[in-house]
Every structure is written in structure tokens, then in C-alpha cells.
Symmetry: C2
Subunit: 190 residues, 2 copies
Amino acid sequence: MKALEEKIRREGSVLPGNILKVGSFLNHQVDAEFTMEMGREIARLFAQEKITRVLTIETSGIPIALAAAAALHVPMVFAKKNRTGNLSGELYQTVVHSYTHGTDYNVVVEKKYILPGDRVLIVDDFLANGKALLGLMELVRMAGAETAGAAVAIEKGFQRGGDALRQGGMRVESLAIIESMEDGNIVFRD
Amino acid sequence: MKALEEKIRREGSVLPGNILKVGSFLNHQVDAEFTMEMGREIARLFAQEKITRVLTIETSGIPIALAAAAALHVPMVFAKKNRTGNLSGELYQTVVHSYTHGTDYNVVVEKKYILPGDRVLIVDDFLANGKALLGLMELVRMAGAETAGAAVAIEKGFQRGGDALRQGGMRVESLAIIESMEDGNIVFRD
């Protein structure tokens, strides 16, 4: 999505440790109208996939997941991190390892919000090593539902998570794929 | 908003301790299209207020805040809880007391995302005692900006936070106000 690449170039900044800061429009301040546009683009890409539900994980995936769900006319569900207490009812639960923070965290979703037979589209703001996405796919599997694909705003292609999932047969659509960002110079995949 | 009251009656459930569970459409699963509708209603209510920015707090306020911001054609900012580390740049920071969890937490926002002269609309999913909202108003004040009003989906009227803010001169619009929910019987304010 050309408009996203331009926005990343214009507003993003690269910090040491391959961190891309896009807090001006994606994950602290959110460009609401542009987010809705990204949601419509995701809906267009998955229009033939009979998606019944969008799944994301709190927090920064929520805006784009909501936008995609609204455009697909399906509900959005956000899985919660590190919680077991204040959700009533039974939960699906799995553990995700965060490279960024060097820790493991729980990801939970109430069972009634992913149903057997659902065709789930997983949506997130970032895809790097793909661990969060694999955790969400595991929740979908536990529910007896199917992950029809994954859509993210920005994929860090050099961290290979997206390609590994694609090699495994998963359809992964990223609105922008960063191939490298050495010395602050952002190169997108064609 | 009649449609919201009906949804609360149909899908909500009351748990001991005045807890209203609306996870089927508001804060775990999210009814995306209905959320966009709530956002348009908020935009309609504040159409004359020259809002320049919508401010919420992670996590469950994000969907309705995004929807309101998209309808108002302004950016949305979500303040973050309990973080000081991974946000670069300078922060506005305040402390909010959570009655639900009996603890204090930090609320932070990067300074560059609320500017002097901004007319900020604070949006959240719930308003109970109003402490989170007061914390967000404090961040706005620190920035030299103005809180033009607050809009929430569901106000627990019996916890008086909304009325206290109104008495203080703040414009607070709630799409549904629950006057009481004793014995699981939900009564809305007229």
C-alpha cells in the first residue's frame, strides 16, 4: 500500500535495535481516517475468504483490527495479555515469547468469542518474528476454527516471521514490508 | 442512544459488585459496525465543538475512540498505562487510582501528541467514578490544551463520576446511562 510506505518514510524513525517508531499514526497517536483506509484495503484483499471474525491482540493492533472488521462486516475480538482473573467463563490460553521484552506472556480469549467453524482473519499492527501471530493461530485452533489468513500494517521482512508463515501455507498480507532499515535507511520489499 | 440501551439489555449481564459484562460487543469481542455507529453519534453530539483531537486510555476505550475520531476527522491518541520505558521523548504523566483493582497506575502520553491549543475530546467505553477521565483531563491540562468534553459509551450513573464532572462544568455525553442495576435489573436514566 503505497500510501502507507510514504507515511512510514515521512513520519517513521528508526531507533537502535531495529525499532521503528510510528507513534505519530499507528500505535500511540492513531491517524483514524488512514486506519479506516487500511481496514478497507485489508477487507478488499480478503473479500473472497468468507471471513467471519477478526482476531487481534491488545493493544496496538486494535485500531486496524476494528477498521478491518468494520469493512468486512464481522465482529472483532481482541485477545488479552497476562490475564486470567477478571474474565468470567472459560478461556483459551496460550503463551507467547516476546523477543522485545525477553519475557513470556499469556494470551487469553473467552471461548465464546471464537466458535468452531469460524474463518478467522488475524490482524495486527506489526509482524516481526511472528510469535504473537502464532499464539493467536493457536487460540483459533483450540477453538476448532480456522485461520483464513493474517493481515498486518507493517511487516519487518528481515525478521522472517512473515515468510516462515507463508512457507507454512498461511496467507499473510502486509500493507508494507520493510526489507531492511540499516543506518535508518528504510528499504521496502517490492 | 436507544440502540445501545437495547444492546446492553439483550447482551449484557450483571455480576456481583456492580460489574456489567458487555464483552460480547464492547470490550472483548467488539461489534465493529455498531462501534462505528457510536462514533458517528459522538461526532454528531460534538460537531460544533471544533474538536482537534480525541484522547482515550488503553485498552478498551480504543475502539470507540477510533470510531469517534474517524467521524470527527481528527487523530486519536491513546494514553498508556504503567509505562515509562519504551516511549522515547518526553512524557506527560499522572497517577490514577483504580477502585476496581485497588491500585494506582501511571498514565502517560508523549508530549508531542497533545499540543497547546488543542481542543480535546476524551472518549472511553465506561465512566464510573470518573478517575480515569480526570487523569486524562490532567494530561490535557499539562499540555496547555483544553478538554472540550467527554463522551463515553456506558456511564454507571449510580457511581456519580459523570454527575460530578458535569457539576464542575464539563460537558459529558454518555450514550447510555445506567441509573441502577440492582438484582441484575438494569434501569436507564431518561
